[in-house]
Structures are given as C-alpha cells and as structure tokens.
Assembly symmetry: C2
Homo-oligomer: 268 residues x 2
DNA sequence: CGTCGGGTTGACCCTTTTCAAAAAAAGTGG
DNA sequence: CCACTTTTTTTGAAAAGGGTCAACCCGACG
C-alpha cells in the first residue's frame, strides 16, 4: 500500500561530482549536510512578513534527498524546519503500513513545531523532491518569543494557517466523493504552488505519484488513477509525467466543490 | 443528512424562573447573556498553566443554548471563545448540506482564533449542550501578546494541540475502517472528558447523537448505529442513552488501533 | 538488456450508503 | 401527568462507490 523505502535522513549522501558547485552554494551558515540541485519550481520566492520574521531566526540549513525521512513520528523533534526549497509531506504511519499524508509542504511551510517540548512529535515528515530547509531549534522558540513578541504571533498565525488546511483536508476525506477529493487536492496544489513560485501559467510541475495522492485523500492509487483518467476525459485537468495542467480552473473548483479563492489566501 | 435547525445564537433566550439563581452565578464579569444551569459533567475543573494564562485575559462570558450557532463560517470572527462549560463542536458545512464535524470542544478548548484578522473564519461552531464560554476579542490578542510573550506561546501551544487532534482525525477518517473510527473517537472522548472532569469512572456522560458521531467520522448515522451495536455485542463499549460505558479500555484502544495514552496527554 | 518503480486496466468483492419504515425517546404544551 | 410532535435509534433490503487482486505496459536506470 505504501512506499516503505524511506531511508533514514542520517544516511550519508553520495552526491555526484557534477553537483559539487551547487552543494557549495547550499552550504551556507552551518555544517549541515547539503546536496543536490536547487533549480526546482518549488523555491521560496516572495516572502510574507510572518515567514520572514520566523526565517530570520533560523540557525542553519539542511538538505534532504528525495524519499528521506525529515522528522520521525516517535522521536521528540529537536528542530522546527521551514521549507526553503522543494516539496515534502507530513504523514502518520499505522502499524500495519497504512499511511495518511497530512499535508504537502511547500516553501514557507513550517514543520515539526512541538506542543510540549519533550513529547514525541506524533507525525513524520519526508522529502518528496530534494528539499532544503531552514533550521530553528525548538528550545530557541521561547527565548526568541520573549524578546520579540511579534515572532510568537507570527508563529501562531503560521500554525493556524496550517490547521485551516488540515481541517479542509478532513472535510475532503470525510465528506466528499473520490472525484471531488482529487479535484480539490489538485486545485489546492495548483494554487499553492503558483503562490510560492509566483508564476501563473496553466500548468505546474507536480512531482507526486498517484500513490501519494491516494495516501493524502484516503483512496487507493488504483482509484486515483481511474479518477484522474475521468477528469482528463472530461477536459478538466491533465496530470501526466509529473505535470499538472489545469484546463479549466472554474470547472475544477466546481468539481472540487470549493469556493475559488480558498487556497489563494494561503499565498497572501 | 444533517440537522439544519441550528438557531442563531443572537436569539433571545427564555430561561425558566427556576434557573434565575444559577444565571446570576454565571453572570460574572460582563453583561453577557447568561442562562441555564451549569451542573454539567463538562465543567472546567483543573486548569493547566497555558489555559489559565489565556483565560485570565478574557473580557467576559457568554452562554449558548443547545443547537445554537456560536461562530459562523462565513463571517469574520470578532472573538476567540474558550469553552468553560459544556460541549460544542466545530464543523464545515457544504453547499448541499453535507457536514463534517472537525472537532468536539470541551472545557479548555479555544475556538475561533483567526489567522488573518479580517478573513472569514472558514469553519462554524455550534453548541451541543448548554455552553458557557470566556470571550477574548480577536483584536486584543496582539496587544496582549506584545506585553506578555508567554501568553503568545500559550496560544501557540493551544493551537498546536488542537491541530494534533485534527490530524489524528484526518488519519482516522482517511485510513481506518468504520469500526476503528468509532472506537477511536469514543476512546478519544472518553479520555478527554475524564481529563477535564477529573473523574475516572468506567463511564461518562456523552450527549452526542449517532448522527453527530457519523458527521465527525465520515460515516452515515445508519452505519454508526450498526457499528455501535457490534461493539456492544462484543463487549467493548456500550453507548446508550447518552452514556458511554467503556467495558474494556485496552480492548477499545486495540480496536481503535491507537497507542493507549495518546489522548491522555491532552489532559496534561 | 533486465530490473524496478510507477502507471493502467479489468474483473470481482465488500464495506458502506441509500432508501423505506417502524420503534423508542425526548420534548412541548395543556 | 397526559396527548402530541419531533428527534433519534433501529432494522432490512438493495445499490454503489471504492477496494482488492492479478496482470501488463512503459520509461528510467544500472
């Protein structure tokens, strides 16, 4: 049902020699392991005030290769990570292998904020593409907040925004048909990716497998495949070769059953 | 499919004369409309530091009768509400009447915190029983946070805790069977109610309809009924007459597929 | 050139929904 | 305290939306 081949992030990486220059570029402040290219369509373009406020306090950078685990759901998370480049996801993994993807994480998203400082995180995070993150040690949050009150509110707003998305997903999975769910997720990703990349073409790069889509929507990848085909036949969206082409945005949001503009506010 | 008979909360209330004394008791700080009795099993017993920090800044109180709307999903929320007594829920309402309950709100829970100060809330909230809340105007959050950094972090932690619950629900609905979902929700409510009420009996008052349970779990109330019967036949839990009796906690958490103690941390 | 991760398809099965209807409970007003 | 109404719970039968399983295809990659 799921791809369990997620490698531990602590594994040493073996970047090809050709990538050396880019790695240098990425190895800014800290001695974190940095690798791979950063020409992805998922780069942090325009910042909003809150995110910049948070990012300003980051202590370093780290990078992750595709399909590596960024946060473990049973360990206490030492650091909060802000995605700077690339695509990741957070998820729950059940004992028998079932997986629920909780969110797809784009540049600007925060992952790993813990409620209690020494409790396990409760969810895992993994890189989907190459991912670069800014690192913010968990135990620096309170000190920073004390000297910088706006920082704390920025943090709060970031968490609230991400919860609004979680709730949207819950409604999706709980009360919508497979077709509506797929339409809704594609619309969401289309809007969010355009939001962070600043572009506005009719298509985006979307390096997701149908299995990942299914794990986010509570469907099997078989059924995702069927729905995708139907959506393509009906000239709503095409999702082939990791490219999502939206043929008719209004139609898509109609199919999804969401008010257009729901996801645009995310990018504000 | 859903009960659309939610009355506007602005309706004047008509408390019986017998309740006068109790009303007085409840009308503490402000001229808010207060009514009805407060002998419910859902009363704010033991506070944790964060919640007290937040509640300390509340400006007044309000009460809601059962099935009245507390927050509207299309309006901008003026106030943040902290439940002090009673049971409420937050939900999304789709155009065609489908409803997804996002969370059940017990004393200590915060609802209505807005990410952007002037955007619609995105979800609604309704009282299930009589509900008493502490009111905290949205626009006081930032001023308070500025002079009191710990308040902001308390707020952040409260939102994080509630997001953890949302995510748990998402996994429930997306990747678990009907039986697992019902078991999981009952276990959650059992633990949370005992947490806030401070009791530890084998049963709790749980004034929910099967329809509400279904709307929270992405099931029809017909199927909830059948699952409930099966669980009763198997001597795991009994849920009759608004009373939830847990016959075997370990068995229940096993059925739910969650590690026992997941929800206990909520009450900490 | 052979393996491997994804995508695609069809047939079949099963969990859950839908619909109709009745019984039980809970309010409401007199 | 009793009729009367409205919710809520319960049950059965039938339909359907998705899941399961078994293949096969394809391009990427070593």
């Amino acid at each position: 049902m799921i791809n369990l081949s997620v490698r531990r992030s602590s594994e040493p990486s073996h970047p090809g020699a050709a990538h050396a220059a880019l790695q240098q570029m990425a190895t800014e402040e800290s001695g974190a392991l940095c690798l791979e290219a950063f020409g992805s369509p998922f780069h942090f373009k325009k910042g909003n005030a809150d995110l910049d406020a948070i990012r300003r306090h980051a202590l370093g950078r780290r990078s992750f290769r595709p399909h590596t685990e960024m946060l473990n759901q049973n360990e206490i998370a030492r650091d909060v990570l802000m995605i700077v480049d690339g695509l990741a996801c957070t998820y729950h993994l059940l004992d028998d292998g079932r997986r629920q993807i909780l969110s797809f994480c784009l540049p600007g998203d925060l992952i790993g904020i813990a409620g209690s400082p020494h409790a396990p995180l409760g969810y895992a995070a993994a890189a989907i593409t190459n991912v670069a993150v800014a690192v913010l040690p968990q135990d620096r949050l309170l000190p920073i907040a004390r000297t910088n009150p706006d920082f704390a509110m920025s943090l709060t707003r970031a968490v609230i925004a991400s919860q609004a998305l979680s709730q949207h997903h819950l409604t999706n999975v709980g009360r919508r048909t497979a077709r509506e769910r797929v339409a809704s997720l594609l619309l969401e990703l289309y809007c969010r990716v355009q939001g962070v990349s600043g572009t506005a073409a009719g298509e985006i790069q979307l390096p997701l497998t149908q299995e990942e889509i299914g794990d986010a929507l509570g469907l099997t990848h078989f059924h995702v495949n069927r729905v995708l085909r139907a959506l393509r036949n009906d000239h709503v969206v095409e999702f082939v070769n990791r490219v999502l082409r939206v043929l008719d945005v209004d139609r898509l949001s109609e199919e999804a059953g969401v008010e257009p503009g729901l996801f645009l506010s995310q990018a504000a």
